[in-house]
Symmetry: C2
Subunit: 220 residues, 2 copies
């Protein structure tokens, strides 16, 4: 029988399946097997089938999955079948880059507003939007019924911004500031710490050197 809550890693892979399917559709491919999907993503075919199995039965035995319909299903599951409005707080380098990034729009996200407190930035046009003062956040989020927000501020400002976002009724926050936010459990947080991600790479590169050192020499 089906598990009540799908494993988080399975949900993460859903995004990868969707990405792959969109690419295949662009090449005119119409059907795909779990094995093919698995090969593209360097995982096992059983994993693909089990992941999709948490959400329904999308395939046909002996045939595989039809690319178009499965794409639609995954979009619906992820909630990106309808365009989803997002605000960006912080118009520094990273905020600007995100606002100009075309990838979000393609994936069903619309960046509808940007906020900052610096007078030098407020009023500037970036991508499709004009930067507004942080004090306007509440009004705009409510008026446009925005559910998702991106925090791209310095870490010192992140908690205050998060508080404002929660008060404005935001439901999910993508946090690029290297801080752990204190927020009510009704709001989801996706932490993205770029420096920490590089650190992970550094570790793996370093670990490889010491791969065949049988002496456990990590603690000095």
């Amino acid at each position: 029988m089906k598990q009540q809550t799908p494993p988080t890693p399975a949900v993460q892979r859903l995004s990868l399946y969707l990405r792959t399917l969109e690419q295949l559709a662009g090449q005119g491919v119409e059907k795909v097997s779990s094995r093919q999907l698995a090969t593209f993503l360097h995982i096992t075919a059983a994993q693909v089938r089990k992941d999709l199995g948490y959400f329904g039965q999308f395939g046909r035995p002996g045939v595989g999955y039809r690319v178009g319909p499965l794409t639609e299903h995954l979009r619906r599951i992820l909630g990106t079948d309808r365009t989803c409005r997002v605000v960006v707080v912080g118009a520094g380098d990273l905020g600007r880059a995100l606002l100009r990034h075309r990838g979000f729009r393609r994936k069903g996200f619309e960046l509808v507003a940007a906020f900052d407190i610096s007078p030098a930035k407020v009023g500037r046009q970036i991508g499709q939007v004009t930067v507004r003062h942080l004090d306007d956040l509440d009004e705009i989020v409510r008026r446009q019924d925005v559910k998702l927000a991106v925090i791209a501020t310095p870490p010192e400002a992140a908690q205050d911004v998060a508080d404002r976002l929660c008060r404005a009724g935001i439901k999910g926050i993508l946090n690029f500031a290297p801080t752990t936010l204190e927020i009510p459990p009704s709001v989801a947080v996706g932490p993205v710490d770029l420096a920490a991600t590089l650190e992970q790479l550094s570790f793996r590169v370093r670990a490889e050197r010491a791969a065949d050192a049988p002496t456990e020499g990590i603690a000095p």
Copy 2:
């Protein structure tokens, strides 16, 4: 007995412990208990102790951990105790933002070069570096013995860039392009798909309607 390979999630949390410790040190704090660290990161104290336990014995019973020494240990484990050189490929919006970002330097990474193929971008100064043509990549990576690279190109270019990086002897790649790279297993890849990360938030916000249980995630 100690496990041979530390769990990947534990290594990821190491970066968070380090981040927290650096913050505490900035506030003049000198010792910290597993319970305090756990509270900051919304995890359990046992988790903190077990994670650190994979790498050595750093604490003193009845006292806790000394902030300074533990910070040093974690940096050494992650390989960021010495400055680590990194190149960035792709000088678009995202590449520029990363090149100007001060957070990497603070964490022990030095962005030593940027590459692009667009004549409009080659020669421009961004942050501390001048953008060079992609054809110079091999020479610079070898001459400066660079181990890590960031790919911030359009997805169509990512695989070719990855091939060049591998040929140049790069050991780890942080890939911001929404593609799965084909690379030899001797090279580590850290995939960062920003649109996919937003999709995950969308899912969790949407899932909340049905069941009130959003979770704070760590894995990218």
